[in-house]
Structures are given as structure tokens and as C-alpha cells.
């Protein structure tokens, strides 16, 4: 099965080869969706983990024991069609181009599969049409 997780690393664990350990010790494949890691800073990594359910849970327990924060991002972005005015403002701040304007109709297009739930778009929307489901 697959789980999307956000990892938060304390400064000292940034160097740790997490994805290697996940693969080797737990047979869990980690697909990096977004990474924000730099030496001596708190790091953030959004991963899609796939593997056997028990091994996934064990991998998550292990990461937590290493002081890595694990949160489940089964959060989703919701766009209220009734409220959206198709201004397009959100498209300029979306880092993955999950939000874009149709070049012909200039209506907002949301490509959910590209969304990494970074939530940059939420405060940008001037009519509060965007929210998360949590």
C-alpha cells in the first residue's frame, strides 16, 4: 500500500540517509515529492511510501524513534467552484503548476495529481475559495 507522509527533521538528522534505510531495513520504497533540506536547518521532506502495511508502520515507528516528525498528508486541497471567480491569482504561487488557467477559457484548472498540499494557494485566494479537508 501507499502512504503520503511529511517528515520533519531536527537539525542533526538531516545528514541521515533516510530513504536508503527505509529501502534496506523495511523494504519500503520512498518517492520524494518535495524536499527542503539544507545543512544545519530543519528539513522537510514529503514522501510517498510504498510497501507492505506492517513494514510501513514499522518504518514510521523507526523514523519517530529517530526524532523525525512524521505527519500523514492525506490532506487534500478543495476548491469551491461556487466561490471561485477564476481570477487566476493562485496559479502564480503554486510551485507545481497544479493550479493553472485553461489557455482558451481562462477558467481555473486544478490537477490534483500534481498538488503537494503545500497550501501556498490558500491564503492567496482573495475570495477564500480554497481550503483543505482537515
Amino acid at each position: 500500500m501507499k502512504k503520503r507522509v511529511t517528515l520533519t527533521f531536527p537539525k542533526r538528522s538531516v545528514q541521515m540517509p533516510v530513504t536508503y534505510r527505509l529501502a534496506k531495513d523495511f523494504n519500503v520504497a520512498a518517492n520524494i515529492i518535495r524536499a527542503q533540506v539544507a545543512p544545519n536547518q530543519i528539513g522537510k521532506l514529503v514522501l510517498e511510501l510504498s510497501g507492505d502495511i506492517d513494514q510501513l508502520d514499522a518504518a514510521i515507528d523507526w523514523m519517530r524513534s529517530q526524532d523525525i516528525g512524521v505527519s500523514f498528508s492525506n490532506r487534500e486541497i478543495l476548491i469551491d467552484e461556487e466561490i471561485c471567480v477564476h481570477c487566476g491569482l493562485c496559479t502564480g504561487v503554486c510551485p507545481t503548476e497544479a493550479l493553472s488557467l485553461d489557455p482558451q477559457t481562462f477558467k481555473l484548472v486544478f490537477t490534483r495529481s500534481r498538488c503537494i498540499v503545500c497550501e501556498q494557494c490558500i491564503p492567496t485566494c482573495p475570495v477564500q475559495a480554497i481550503s483543505t479537508n482537515l
Binding site: V85, C87, G88, L89, C90, G92, V93, T105, F106
Partner: protein, 393 residues
């Protein structure tokens, strides 16, 4: 070729030919200006964008005993009351106050105007100055658009003829009236819908003047005056369109007839509340010149790229960019490709033009002759404070 009276006669006889501005542009590309001018009587233009210099006049009708209102709040948003006893002006960008007087920046006049137009109840609290004529000291009630005597929008500045493209060349995020601008040229925002916008298609305001009947917020409105910051002397291209902010219009219209679909309260993060408004202007095809001006395309129009990281009245600019480039979603600045987003809704701007076209075809909307022109030679005076004039050499 045609007069406004001829056109109105055709509207009354249901044989008028009305095209949206995009239909006209397409026809000109296909058949040329002369041919198109023989075929069409009226061209409709529209825009839907934030227009913060907007507000509503409310006359409550007198209470018994009467009150001379000196302070007033509508759903917590202060309304100006320093004129007639029960006259109020509710500004779109006025910030709400909680009952203990604290600012609630995320709610403002624009939302209250939208709620009233939508028919929702709004709480009113008023403090009066007791006089012999007006003995009442305070008043609290719930109003709706149907329980107040008069309710009309009177917007000192709407419809900028062109505007700017905002970017942030600094190293911290900026929260502006164009929305968030990310540091190091992280994004760019433009706010005019380009070639479909009303005032780009009548660049010298030959057709639009005081008294021109328009589509305002889904109801019928009028051009009341030149808008504040009106700057017709902005530099212009040979096609007469300005290269930055130029003419503006003050608009007026009965809000009781408006539709909340076209009047939307909005909030820009860490900047404040505002109002998004749909405005449409019909352009009568009096002669070929009208069609030639309306044929202008996005690649023939430009806006200046302005760096908001320098908080001065005349900000540095990174040059001019065409609306065709802006609408492609990316522009080049200093060799860097920057994602650019609109702030005007191009989709809803088109819908305004379509709706106005339908009104005219249905005989619900007649054109009006302007009663006086909008000044064309007015210079611009600024205080040292921030203004909207952009001087570009």
C-alpha cells in the same frame, strides 16, 4: 454611419446586431475593419476585477423618534456618517472592528456590500448626536436591501485604463493589493484583462463620457465623472493606448438591482479587504474609426513591470511587457522566466460582455449619449505619499 438614436431604434425593433469585443476582433481579422463596421451596431466590453475605490451610499429612512447618526457600524464595519442624518457611505476597503474595537482585517466593507446585494440581513449599530430635531441617541437594528430607503454604489475610481505588473525584487515576501509577491522575482501579477477591457477599446474616450449607461454589478449604472487619479496624459503608443495607468472613471448605479454574482467582497492577505466588481460598457459603432480602435489585440498593448520592493511613489520598473506575453503565463525579467498570474478574471470579464450583449439584444438596455466628455488633458498632482501615477520615460 450610425447615430446612437439609430442604434436605439434598432434595439427597440429587436433588429440590432451586437457582438462581444472578442467576436468583433475575430471578425476584423477575417474581413477587415470596413466590412466589420458595416455589419455590427454595438460592441460589448467587460471586466471583472478588484476595484478598491468603491463604496455604497445608504439612506436608511428616518427612525421614530429621529436620529442624527454620527457613528455607525454595519456588521462591525464602520460607515461614514458625517453628512445627512441617516445617510451613510460604506467603503469597500473599510476594515471591520470587533465589539471591543479591535480590527478584524479579514472582513471589510466589500463583504457587507456583497451581503446586502445578496439579500442577506446585516446588523446595524448607530450612535447619534442628540439635538432638538433628532432626540434619539442610539439605534440598533437589522437591515436588508429591501428595508432601507436607498442603496446605490458610488465608486470614485473604477475601470483603470491599463495598470501595472507587480513583482518583488527584494528578499522578503510582500503582501500587496495585487496579492502576495514572492521575493527574488518569485512571481508576477497583472490586473487588467487586456484587449477585452473596456477602456483599451476606446482609448481616447471618444464614445464614453459622463452619463454613459453601463452594466454595473449586474444592474444598470452610469458613468458619473472622471475617476480619482484620472491621468489621461499618460504616455501612449501610436494606437493611442496608454503604456501604464491612465484614464479612470467614477461609476454610479442602483445596488438594489445588482446581483451578488458580479459584486464580490474579497480580502488580500495582509493587505486588507476590497471589492471585485463586474463592469461592462457598450461601444456604439458610429463609424469605422470605432471598429479600428476596437480591433486592438493583446500583442498591441503593454504594461510596465514594477518592483514593489522599493516603497516609493515612483517605483523602479523593469520595462514594458505585452498583454500577449502576460496571458501566456510567463514573462522574462532580467533573463529570468517568471510565472505571471492575472488578478482580473478574464473568464468573468468575458461573461460580463456576453451578458450585456444579451441585455441589448433582448431590448432591456438602451445606449445613452454622454452629456459631457471626460477630461482628456488633465495633469496629475501628487502629494509625497504614494500615488498611482507611473511616470515612464
Amino acid at each position: 454611419m450610425r447615430t446612437i438614436a439609430d442604434i436605439n431604434d434598432k434595439i427597440n425593433r429587436h433588429c440590432v446586431v451586437v457582438w462581444t469585443i472578442e467576436e468583433l476582433k475575430a471578425r476584423v481579422v477575417e474581413a477587415g475593419v470596413t466590412q466589420a463596421a458595416t455589419e455590427v451596431d454595438v460592441v460589448t466590453t467587460g471586466t471583472f476585477e478588484p476595484m478598491e475605490s468603491s463604496g455604497a451610499i445608504l439612506n436608511l429612512g428616518h427612525t421614530d423618534p429621529p436620529i442624527k447618526i454620527r457613528q455607525c457600524w454595519l456588521d462591525g464595519v464602520p460607515a461614514y456618517s458625517g453628512f445627512g442624518a441617516v445617510d451613510l457611505y460604506l467603503g469597500a476597503t473599510q476594515v471591520a472592528e470587533s465589539s471591543d474595537g479591535e480590527e478584524m482585517r479579514e472582513r471589510g466593507g466589500g463583504y457587507v456590500i456583497q451581503d446586502l446585494i445578496a439579500g442577506k440581513p446585516v446588523h446595524l449599530r448607530a450612535v447619534g448626536q442628540v439635538t432638538d430635531c433628532y432626540p434619539r441617541a442610539s439605534f440598533e437594528t437589522t437591515i436588508t436591501r429591501d428595508t432601507i430607503n436607498q442603496f446605490y454604489l458610488f465608486n470614485p475610481r473604477n475601470l483603470y485604463q491599463n495598470f501595472i505588473v507587480g513583482v518583488n525584487g527584494g528578499d522578503r515576501p510582500l503582501f500587496t493589493y495585487l496579492g502576495p509577491l514572492q521575493p527574488r522575482l518569485g512571481n508576477a501579477v497583472y490586473s487588467n484583462p487586456g484587449a477585452i477591457a473596456p477602456l483599451f477599446n476606446d482609448p481616447d474616450l471618444n464614445l464614453i463620457g459622463i452619463g454613459t449607461r453601463i452594466f454595473l454589478g449586474g444592474g444598470i449604472g452610469y458613468v458619473a465623472w472622471e475617476g480619482t487619479q484620472h491621468f489621461p496624459l499618460q504616455k501612449r503608443l501610436p494606437n493611442r493606448t496608454p503604456i501604464g495607468p491612465a484614464a479612470t472613471l467614477a461609476l454610479i448605479g442602483d445596488a438594489k438591482q445588482m446581483d451578488a454574482r458580479w459584486v464580490r467582497g474579497c480580502y488580500f492577505k495582509s493587505y486588507g479587504p476590497s471589492l471585485m466588481l463586474g463592469v461592462g460598457i457598450p461601444l456604439p459603432v458610429l463609424n469605422e474609426e470605432v471598429v479600428a480602435r476596437c480591433a486592438v489585440q493583446d500583442q498591441d498593448l503593454v504594461a510596465p513591470i514594477v518592483d514593489f520592493s522599493i516603497p516609493r511613489r515612483v517605483r523602479p520598473i523593469f520595462g514594458l511587457v505585452s498583454y500577449a506575453q502576460l496571458k501566456s503565463g510567463r514573462i522574462g525579467i532580467d533573463g529570468k522566466s517568471v510565472r505571471v498570474a492575472p488578478l482580473a478574471s478574464i473568464y468573468l470579464s468575458r461573461q460580463v460582455a456576453i451578458e450585456l450583449k444579451q441585455w441589448i439584444e433582448a431590448g432591456k438596455f438602451l445606449l445613452s449619449e454622454p452629456v459631457a466628455p471626460i477630461p482628456a488633458n488633465q495633469t496629475f498632482l501628487s502629494q509625497d505619499a504614494w500615488g498611482s501615477q507611473i511616470a515612464i520615460d
